[in-house]
Symmetry: C2
Subunit: 166 residues, 2 copies
DNA sequence: CTTGGAAAGTCAACAAGGCTGACGTAAATT
DNA sequence: AATTTACGTCAGCCTTGTTGACTTTCCAAG
């Protein structure tokens, strides 16, 4: 409101009503986004916290506990509880760091990779259906808005994960 | 994979790698999406559950407890705990239904409206910044993909909230 | 008019997954 | 040698989700 039509371009897409629609879309879409993995996880006594850990270990094999803490934004006590169960259940391997022996380098075991694949297959299937229904131009816009919505720190994390990829 | 280039159009945006990027974008963006309201809420001993209740009561004044249960997708015991504190603190008014006296029609009190405004102002500010940075075409795509990502039931809820608006 | 069942509320108990604070140990750094 | 860092862990707390059981209210069908 009281935006003032600064450019020649219409700013109707910045009305409170449009913004509220976007907010509710995020809310409902995120539910869909997590629904499929959640169903898989609950059959095996794991939760979203386990999914996140498994995802980022898969994404960056050999990552350290501190790295994971930064990316996930939780306390080490909270992460440790989750990591402990994954290690004890043989899904994650924590190897003492080679150069710095204080660090633990985290890897998925074959069993962990199995779970990761199940979860990401389910999540990608939904994402694929949505992308396909929306089309490439919409997908481009989707990613642009999401990126702009992140906290700067998170955006750096997100983008640094992108580096070194073609 | 093994999508097969069915149309003449490139399907490169449907690769596993593109999908994974979308998944991580959702994860990081949702954190940003909830960060500002969360900060406000924690100063007053409320949580996200309170935010959601306040949002949808504001959105549909006079809505019933069952409606809210459907939209929020939690158990009545869980919702009741949140609703109870909001009612006791004088943010929400639960009036006995006029036609059906078993129902409770929920309304925000002036105090509840105050909180709602604080929360939605904060959330809209971030959304507005993201929208502005991304531009109208991206916003259109953003909404299209999110809608396609919802469960059909949620999509109906989402769209029914849209009805009756210009 | 009676009664079955829906809507709502409440009590109790439990679990996941956040949090803080305190403390210990090994390894690296200064 | 002293300090800092990385990690693990114990203990306790909170929010917000869950199930199960039960009551009260009240609509609507028989």
């Amino acid at each position: 409101m009281a935006e003032g039509n600064t450019g020649g371009e219409s700013l109707l897409f910045l009305t409170d009503e449009q913004l509220r629609k976007g907010i509710e879309a995020m809310f409902f879409a995120y539910r869909g986004f997590t629904a499929d993995p959640d169903r898989i996880l609950e059959t095996m006594d794991y939760g979203r916290a386990h999914h996140r850990a498994v995802h980022f270990i898969h994404r960056s094999p050999g990552t350290t506990v501190s790295n994971l803490l930064t990316i996930l934004g939780v306390t080490k006590q909270s992460l440790n509880r989750v990591l402990r169960s994954l290690i004890d259940d043989g899904l994650v391997d924590a190897r003492v760091g080679k150069s710095d022996k204080r660090e633990r380098n985290l890897y998925l075991t074959p069993k962990g990779q199995d779970l990761e694949r199940q979860l990401s297959d389910a999540q990608r299937a939904r994402m694929r259906a949505a992308y396909r229904a929306a089309g490439p131009a919409a997908v481009q816009g989707f990613r642009t808005v999401l990126e702009a919505m992140m906290d700067p720190d998170m955006r750096r994390q997100y983008q640094s994960l992108r580096e070194g990829e073609k």
